[in-house]
Amino acid sequence: MRPALLHIGVLAALVAAGFLLPAYQHGMLARILVMAVFAMGYNLAFGYTGLLSLGHALHFCAGMMATGLAMRHGLAAGPALILGLAAGTATAMLTGLLALRTAGVSFMIVTLMFAQAFHLTLLYYGGFTGGDEGFPLPSAARRLFGLDLTQAGPRYAVALALFAAGLLAQWALVRSRFGRSMIAMRENEERSRMLGYNPFTTKLAALALSGLYSGAAGAAYGLLFGYVGASFGTSQYSILPLLYVLLGGAGTTLGPLLGAGLMAWLIDAASSLTDSPLAVIGITLIVLVLFAPKGILGTLREKGLKWLP
């Protein structure tokens, strides 16, 4: 009961924020919600299944590129968005088929290499993809279900709808039988195999779902903010969801939102204090790993709020 109320409460607060926040924070929150969807996808792989990937920028950027290129060639926003979801899922499955033959550090390196290869490919075919400079999406085409996504209100509404759908689906997923098998895999792969679970198929399915979320986030990012580029395929975009999840709490449903929100606020606040905001973030993360390695919600759950989802 309490987890349900918490999720409903968070969504209600986000709806209210859409009406109450001033323009700058309004836009910032829309961006946070999209990045939280990306982090939720990462959380499914890392937080729930124990797959520490360093290549999720690939799925995010694949979703974004598929949507952007499709729209650039005349496809409407709706079908282009679906194409983005499919691209994120497909890249996760294809790379997973090979990367899951490895584990631990090798898995991290293989996923990183796939993402790097994808990024370099985007740069190599810069004439088609726009390369590092990217390309803007035509404003007239950024319409979804009749909503003009160049306007702040509809943009926030779509970002929130995507986040709400992602959050509720994630909550249902981790409470489902498949969710239990993902957690079992994270806890001990051999133990799970002994009980009749195929680690490869479970992890591949988890990666595909993770890719779906990442692709959706990438596609939505391009659509909502009107810009697509290979810079979203750099390793920075593989590290960001990891940091969000570590900060908010791996294996918690609301940790990705909390992590993405806090990180955005930290960067914003640090930027006004110093010319090196990333140093502040680095120090914060070191402190966090030393004193709260399970992230904020993970630590709260450990310290007594055991019902936290």
């Binding site: 806890e187 001990n188 009749g196």
Partner: protein, 236 residues
């Protein structure tokens, strides 16, 4: 529970990587009977159970559940044929609740609420702990849960690796009673056990292992704590 004729191990040679542990092991587990496996540390008892579960590298030999050649299956498919395994040290999913650990067992063979209730009837104490994290249970309760999780598969063959190790006497009795009940239900049980008195109280036959081989299989009836095989293979 699915009725079987038995689990037959024929000439099994297996090990880890390049190291061979089991050599030409043959053994039979029959429904409604407890086959105890005894031997000194390093004799290959745990490796035998792990080999049945497909978790070692097999060189030669066969493991047959009726006509099903288990040795040809990937490890994760062995439990789906009704082979339950309770490894040494319990190996639960510590952060998950008791109910979730049972759920993971139930899902393997698509069992539902009736199986869960039957298992909880065997271990009523777990019913009061359903929402508790498995890692926070007492040692005895964890062992109950490990056994209960294996029973959620409705196994026709149950492999138990020292299930009473490190438990207090009341818990040992409870586990033994459970094994006796499972035996009466027709489950074929292979029990690795070090305590002679435990073996004599529930075993139908005892397989003594030494240096990776089954050196001798004797009926439990008629064995006494000081019998010659115990002295020769266990050193008691």
């Amino acid at each position: 529970m699915q009725r079987i004729e038995g689990l037959r191990i024929e000439g099994l040679t297996a090990g880890y990587g390049a190291t061979t542990i089991l050599r030409d092991v043959s053994l039979m587990a029959e429904p409604g009977r407890v086959t105890c496996v005894m031997g000194r540390n390093g004799a290959g008892k745990t490796t035998l159970l792990r080999s049945i579960m497909g978790q070692t590298a097999r060189r030669t030999g066969r493991i047959l559940l009726d006509e099903i050649a288990l040795q040809d299956l990937p490890a994760h498919e062995v439990p789906r044929h009704g082979i339950g395994y309770v490894p040494q040290g319990r190996r639960l999913f510590g952060p998950l609740s008791v109910a979730e650990n049972l759920e993971i067992g139930l899902m393997t063979r698509g069992k539902g609420a009736s199986t869960r209730e039957a298992v909880l009837d065997l271990f009523p104490r777990l019913r009061d702990r359903l929402t508790q994290a498995a890692g926070t249970l007492s040692g005895g309760e964890q062992q109950m849960l490990a056994l209960a999780r294996a029973l959620c598969l409705e196994p026709s063959v149950l492999l138990l690796d020292e299930p009473t190790e490190g438990l207090q006497p009341s818990m040992i009795q409870l586990i033994r009673d459970s094994i006796t009940r499972l035996k009466a239900q027709g489950v074929a049980i292979i029990l690795v056990e070090q305590r002679v008195e435990a073996v004599l109280s529930i075993a139908d036959s005892v397989a003594f292992m030494a240096q990776g081989q089954v050196a001798e299989v004797v009926p439990a009836m008629g064995l006494t704590p000081g019998a010659e095989p115990f002295r020769r293979y266990i050193g008691v």
